[in-house]
């Protein structure tokens, strides 16, 4: 399968995303809204649920199903208040000593006048800075398209699980092709040179675990993801908070060092 085939699968409108997996793996999930500053961003959904008998905070990017819902959720492109809501929920998780799981799948942070006026860059930056200090385990699961800084704002973590048809890139292949060759139709070539597949991220030391999709159903994948998350959380639970923060920094410190 080519890199661009994976991009196409990662973006497919019928691909099961974070909300599906949250429904499958969590019991008693309660969604919590709002950033307490400006509003409630529909492109980010978060709350608390029970995983394997213990409470966890889960946050996902959400694009919605119907066209109407997609428009309401900005096609899954988060605004500053979405990132601020996510950070609020992470700090709440820290207070109540429960781990955080973030699901990634979004074309990127929303581009618009309002988003700039309310500090899109600052909101992402604050998440990056603060997530290095959250004293509970953070696991990031990349399911769909991991687009640029908008995805990174939920990706500072202790363990990154990546679906093998998910992608993660500094720029969309279309954007890259138009810069390189002034021709966005050459996106498949760009996807190749950008090295954005799960295998690429694993070899660069960014992704820690790859979840092979094969021919399995979404329900089967959810069951495996649940088992993986339980295993990773068991491991991370044993680590003291200072040690956890030091190794979280070490994980990113090594990249391109």
């Amino acid at each position: 399968m080519s890199a661009y085939d994976k991009v196409t699968l990662a973006r497919a409108s019928d691909r099961a995303m974070g909300s599906f997996y949250m429904e499958q793996i969590l019991d008693h999930f309660v969604e919590l809204h709002g950033d307490r500053r400006f509003g409630d961003d529909g492109a980010i959904c978060g709350g608390v649920g029970i995983l394997n008998g213990e409470p966890v905070t889960c946050i996902t990017m959400k694009r919605g199903d119907s066209l109407e819902e997609r428009m309401k959720r900005n096609f899954g492109c988060p605004s500053p208040e979405g990132y601020r809501k996510a950070l609020r929920l992470m700090k709440q998780a820290e207070k109540f000593h429960r781990p955080v799981i973030c699901f990634i799948g979004s074309p990127g942070a929303y581009c618009g006048i309002g988003a700039e006026e309310r500090g899109q860059g600052q909101a992402i930056a604050e998440n990056l800075l603060e997530m290095f200090g959250i004293r509970v385990p953070i696991i990031t699961v990349v399911i769909g398209e991991g687009g640029s800084g908008g995805a990174l704002a939920l990706s500072v973590c202790d363990s990154m699980i990546m679906f093998d048809n998910a992608v993660y890139s500094v720029i969309s292949p279309e954007g890259c092709a138009s810069i390189l060759w002034k021709d966005s139709s050459r996106a498949p070539e760009a996807a190749e040179v950008l090295r954005l597949t799960a295998g690429d991220l694993y070899s660069m030391g960014i992704a820690d675990v790859i979840l092979q999709e094969g021919y399995r159903t979404n329900e089967e994948l959810a069951a495996e993801l649940k088992a993986l998350l339980i295993r990773e959380l068991e491991r991370l639970k044993k680590v003291s908070a200072p040690r956890l923060l030091a190794s979280r920094y070490e994980k990113f410190r090594k990249i391109g060092g």
Partner: protein, 265 residues
Amino acid sequence: MTSETVKCKKCGGEMDAEMVAKHRKICPRCGNYFRMTARERIDLVTDGKTFRELDGTLVSRDVLRFPDYEKKLEIARLETGENEAVITGTAAIGGHPCALFVMDSVFMMGSMGTVVGEKITRLFEYATEKRLPVIGFTCSGGARMQEGVLSLMQMAKISGAIRWHSSAGLLYIAVLTDPTTGGVTASFAMEGDIIAAEPGALIGFAGQRVIEQTIGQKLPEGFQKSEFQLEHGFCDLLIGRVNMAQTLADLLMLHKEQPKERRNA
């Protein structure tokens, strides 16, 4: 012998390049700021001959074998005489010691690859160890496409280093200069204890053309300028070039480390 001239983008005036360089690169006619190289910036703000460069020999490699990257790096090195898009080191400003990083917008548009990320990370680690404040001048088009997701991850890596520096109770002043956009705005440019900006600089996350295409309308005058960021609460103050060194010296003085007894009181 004819001397080299430069043209002001704002008023269109042509003037002698050497004279402009001697006067903080400010247009004598309209007050517009010409872009400064990293070295010019260092000369402008640091006390004479106090700058000591760190990690100046680190050079980028084409790890992903990206089309034309080697060639672009070669051109950038020739054009600027620098090895990378950021210069880091230590210096004194108004007699106050500090760690300093200065980006260069000419070097591949100031884009951030792994070497830029590594140099800034090392600087924050060094400053944490030596208990120095950090002053950083940003100007960048964002993460460097040619190093793919490795560039993107530098945003997180630097943020982690800033957090350790900050937890140690140390000061970081970010000074945003024209242009500061993309992944740099969405990371270390917006993570200062104090965020200052040069007047008239373009500062934002999304590119203006991308926003215009997305929303299908022209952007208002002054959108994403320093003054816009000040008005929306995203920077603490604007500092002009004439006052830059003095204002930074004042800020360093105001945050000088207190003796231990007073810190704990």
